[in-house]
Symmetry: C2
Subunit: 117 residues, 2 copies
């Protein structure tokens, strides 16, 4: 049973910042959409429509935040999403930004779309 690794506040900021830029969010969503198959850098550049050098800059940022992993395959470098990091961010936000203190009510209240009864 995989444990969720909730990030420190600093790490949370880093992850949020990585996602808080339109090209990067687009890149990340593309990677999410293909799951563990991943995408080569060039393919991402084509899909998202940014020059490869800019893309590389953004991929470095996402990698640094732990949001993506890379593996080399032939001449390509394949990027994949790291869902654990994303799950950690969700856990952080749920715990710290979605409900007041303690009250593990965050998840329940989120799922029920809800204000208190």
């Amino acid at each position: 049973m995989e444990m969720i690794n909730t990030p420190s506040p600093d790490a949370a900021v880093e992850i949020l910042a990585a996602l808080a830029q339109s090209s990067r969010l687009a890149v990340f969503r593309e990677l999410v959409s293909v799951g563990s198959t991943g995408l080569a850098a060039g393919a991402i550049a084509k899909r998202v429509g940014v020059p490869t050098s800019s893309l590389s800059f953004h991929l470095t940022n996402l990698k640094q935040a732990g949001l993506v992993a890379e593996r080399r395959e032939g001449r390509s470098i394949i990027y994949t999403v790291r869902f654990e990091t994303m799950r950690g961010l969700m856990a952080y936000l749920l715990e710290n930004c979605c409900a007041e203190e303690g009250s593990g009510a965050a998840i329940a209240s989120f799922i029920n779309e809800g204000e208190r009864a």
Copy 2:
């Protein structure tokens, strides 16, 4: 039954960017912690430890992203969290960044901490 208003990608970036700065995240967490009571700007500045002019800059940013609301009370301006916006962000992330396409599996898979079986 309150509906969740999922933000557009641009709005999502704006909300993420608002949270992706340590002072602002700290401000937001303070506001979450006090719920609908809210906090006066001065009180926030004291708790977070930033000069009031800097704080004002950050509050403007959070307000612009829809993450906080303000109301005047005497000479103070009281800030409160807007949970709807936060819920919208969570919904966006769940739908777009936590699982591949369609498969409303995102919530379930998040709650079960889980990779596929």
